[in-house]
């Protein structure tokens, strides 16, 4: 059952006031966020004023959009006009967005309440939300563990019921992996399906905005709300907005599912593997057929990603120079000193590491060996998915090779952290839609994510299959245990 629909019905029928709902969410934030640290900023007064206005409109019987009065969190790399956009970086600590991102505009036009901005890895670079300049977000399911990243604040805020839903961005798994770690649903739409206008760019050919929610239905509702052509994004597709919610049906009858054995091998935690196979068998019992197959090029996906993404990042982040944006280092003798010191002191370790890698692979003498080769492997990955989808309706993998890891456990091992993205990265490389949904947790109760991948622009197929799994899986409906 959609939590958004249930709340919308309660508003319409007069069983619940928007102001009561928002007040309850703000109260949850006040009590839980000192521990969880999901939010970087919360606009309580604005949210309550909007809620009171909506209550008047509901009482008058005005026709209201489905998202009216729904409290939503927004990752802090997505602009909301007049509010901070820090990207969890010291560089943008005092930056205020001068315009709305297209996704924010869509949500505000449907009277959603954008309650606050959520924590993230700095400039979306990381898989644990430990690389925030301001705070480390904790996993509501086990506060000694990371919530995943980079949209860890959004995932934690949803999992801890601080908001009904949230938006994140996904460049190499940054929506799906935190959704898996926190036991919620995370949807990465097809590249171009959702406008990136107003999203602070990390790797422009990979970035995509998407929803994090408790249920598959809610993910469909949010996708319908934010998708569609936008002339302000030169890579936005001309497809019309989706209508997935109204066409949702738990259906996988007759579908063939491919499972790449490269993503279900020895590198995958046995508990994760067992949970994914159980989920596949459940789907098979309801009319699908699954089989293992090989996509050898996936073994090169992580290396490919960690060349292309840093290369694009080194270009995109060149604008943060202390001249036009945010932090400027004091007491510099020359303009060059000012720029290098502002960047050196304003950017964090992970961001600097990736900028250095990106600069290196784009530099003369290394471009062909690294960047050009990576682009060719990327094409091979895309082609490999295209071939696979001629045989299979869906591809299924674990979302992550393990459950949420302990805070600080990868602090000195960036490569180890990168390798944990092996199942999510190929999807971004090929521009495909994918969803992470909870499957059976591990023996200690930690959530495990099941990743479903569909051909480009086949989000409806993806959501229908995910809905069937949701109805079959107890994990989604297990009462959350926070703190």
């Amino acid at each position: 059952m959609s939590r958004i629909q249930a709340l919308a019905d309660a508003y319409r029928q007069g069983h619940r006031l928007v102001s009561d709902e928002v007040s309850a969410r703000l109260s949850t934030i006040q009590t839980q966020d000192p521990t969880i640290k999901a939010f970087l900023s919360v606009q309580s007064d604005l949210a309550m004023a909007q809620a009171n206005d909506l209550d008047h409109r509901f009482q008058k019987g005005d026709p209201m959009p489905l998202l009216a009065g729904i409290p939503i969190g927004i990752k802090d790399n997505i602009h909301i006009n007049g509010r901070p956009t820090t990207c969890a970086s010291k560089m943008l600590a005092t930056y205020t967005a001068p315009y709305d991102a297209s996704v924010s505009r869509h949500l505000l036009s449907q009277d959603a309440i954008l309650i606050g901005k959520t924590n993230m890895d700095e400039f979306a670079m990381g898989s644990s939300t430990e690389h925030s300049a301001f705070q480390t977000t904790r996993n509501p399911r086990d506060v000694t563990r990371v919530p995943g990243g980079s949209s860890g604040g959004s995932a934690a805020a949803v999992a801890a019921d601080m908001v009904v839903a949230a938006l994140g961005s996904d460049t190499g798994g940054s929506i799906r992996q935190p959704a898996a770690f926190c036991g919620i649903v995370g949807l990465k739409p097809t590249y171009g399906r959702v406008s990136r206008y107003g999203l602070v760019a990390f790797a422009s050919s990979l970035d995509q905005i998407g929803p994090l929610t408790h249920t598959v239905e809610d993910a469909a509702i949010l996708l319908d709300a934010i998708s569609g052509f936008d002339p302000l994004d030169s890579t936005a597709s001309t497809h019309p907005p989706t209508t997935c919610y109204h066409h949702l049906q738990p259906d996988i009858q007759g579908m063939t599912i491919g499972v790449p054995h490269e993503l279900l091998g020895e590198t995958i935690d046995p508990a994760v593997k067992a949970s994914v196979i159980t989920a596949l068998d459940q789907l098979a019992a309801h009319g699908a057929r699954w089989e293992s197959f090989s996509m050898p090029v996936l073994n090169a996906a992580v290396s490919t990603y960690y060349i292309i993404a840093p290369a694009e990042a080194s270009s995109n982040l060149a604008r943060f120079d202390g001249v036009r944006y945010g932090y400027r280092h004091p007491n510099c003798r020359t303009v060059k000193d000012m720029i290098t010191n502002s960047r050196g002191h304003g950017l964090g370790d992970e961001v600097k590491r990736r900028i250095i890698i990106g600069t290196y692979v784009l530099s003369s003498g290394y471009y062909d060996a690294y960047y050009n080769q990576a682009q060719q492997v990327r094409r091979a990955i895309t082609q490999s998915f295209h071939t696979a989808f001629q045989r299979y309706d869906l591809i299924v993998t674990p979302t992550a090779p393990s459950t949420a890891f302990e805070l600080g456990s990868h602090h000195r091992d960036p490569l180890g952290m990168y390798l944990a993205d092996i199942a999510t990265i190929p999807v971004n490389m090929a521009g495909l839609p994918a969803i992470s949904i909870p499957c059976n947790p591990d023996p200690s109760g930690l959530p495990i994510g099941l990743q479903l991948i569909a051909p480009a622009f086949e989000e409806q197929r993806l959501l229908n299959a995910a809905l069937l799994h949701q109805t079959l899986s107890m994990a989604t409906h297990t009462p959350k245990e926070t703190l």
Partner: protein, 90 residues
Amino acid sequence: MVLTPHELQHIAQLAHLSLSPDEINTYLPQIESILSHMNDLQQVDVPSQGASDGLPSAILRDDEPLAHPDFSPQSQAPQWEGGFVVPRLS
């Protein structure tokens, strides 16, 4: 892959980043390890293609300028008086 501190410093300069000696000592083995791992890519047999062919071209629209009914450059300006108003240089 062996990267010297001097080379790392040079790359940082190209990227307009100041690095402290501690940062160089920390980053050097980490970046060496990452670049070594990426060398695996050289073993992947791929057909020769241009670098720009990696994008999922089927989902990119034509590169044509399009007007947006709700957008104007003026709307982005903190101050607009027939042009962007900026502080006078002293």
